[in-house]
């Protein structure tokens, strides 16, 4: 089961690796990202960022969905990561057992920020991503923004008001 599906531009990095895997008590991390699944250098950097003792699987979004639905994983707490809302939406629509979706860091490094919409200090969404986020927030799963565990969980629906 997915203990948390996190959307983060940087996928696995210091904050995510150390703090969240402890907080969520997740022995397994799955990165669902087409670029990472096809790029060995990216895979290497993600492996380096994975804390000692945690298991890591890097898959394309479609392959990751198959893994999430593998009955072997039903009792394993999994921390899942994507770097876009669009990918997270695809997973949420195709995987049943998700405790919560944390839209944490999105779009802050995007090149074309002209028609981006700022939802919070860590969320800058393109029109496409905003559309995906609205769809994500309409699903029957808690969707929130929480960068580090000491922050409060802000419901995405609250951030989307009037957008």
């Amino acid at each position: 089961m997915i203990a948390q599906l996190r959307v983060d531009d940087r996928l696995i990095h210091g904050q995510v690796a150390l703090v969240w895997t402890k907080e969520l008590n997740t022995p397994g991390i799955i990165v669902a990202n087409d670029n990472a699944a096809n790029n060995q250098m990216v895979q290497m950097t993600l492996k380096m960022a994975t804390p000692t003792g945690k298991k890591l699987l890097i898959r394309t979004v479609d392959d990751a969905i198959k893994v999430f639905n593998n009955p072997k994983g039903a009792n394993m707490r999994i921390f899942a990561l994507t770097n876009s809302v669009k990918d997270a939406l695809k997973i949420a629509q195709n995987v049943k057992d998700i405790e919560g979706i944390n839209v944490a860091n999105v779009g802050r490094f995007a090149k074309d920020a002209n028609d981006a919409v700022q939802l919070s200090s860590t969320l800058m969404l393109s029109q496409d991503e905003l559309k995906s986020l609205k769809e994500l927030a309409s699903l029957d799963i808690p969707v929130f923004n929480q960068v580090v565990p000491s922050n409060a969980k802000t419901p995405i629906k609250t951030l989307l008001k009037n957008k």
Partner: protein, 137 residues
């Protein structure tokens, strides 16, 4: 959470604290001494920490044998359950800061061993990707 004091020559200590705050958002509780950036006497802060820190506590210093390390050793080395760590790096402070097991000398040594500086090399270790059986195994 273990009580932590970092003491360094110059702004290294507050710099480490700044890095940890960016990584965790929780660094407020870390105490720091940036020695010699002004003329003030920093040894009082060491004494205060020793008096007030809940045990076990850890004092990190920068260079082994440096004057800041010497001052810390003189004040704290004989204190029960205050550990002094030297040659400090970001990884080791973070490891102790985020740890939630009982901090014994042996456990602290493990955390230190996991936080060493390394020469980065391409193709370090096994790069073959993990298989699902292994992942769920």
């Amino acid at each position: 959470m273990t009580d932590i004091l970092i003491a360094s020559h110059g702004h290294f200590a507050s710099g480490l604290k700044s890095s940890i705050d960016i990584l965790t958002g929780m660094a407020k509780k870390i105490q720091v001494i940036d020695a010699y950036v002004d003329k003030s006497d920093y040894t009082k802060q060491i004494t205060d920490f020793i008096q007030n820190a809940k045990r076990p506590a850890v004092i990190f210093t920068d260079l082994k044998g440096g004057s800041v390390n010497q001052k810390v050793v003189l004040k704290a080395a004989q204190e029960k359950d205050i550990f002094i760590v030297t040659q400090t790096n970001l990884a080791v402070v973070l490891a102790v800061f985020l740890d939630n097991e009982k901090l014994t000398k042996e456990h602290l040594q493990d955390l230190i061993n996991q936080s060493q500086v390394e020469l980065f090399q391409l193709n370090d270790g096994d790069e073959s990707s993990t298989q699902e059986d292994e992942f769920f195994g």
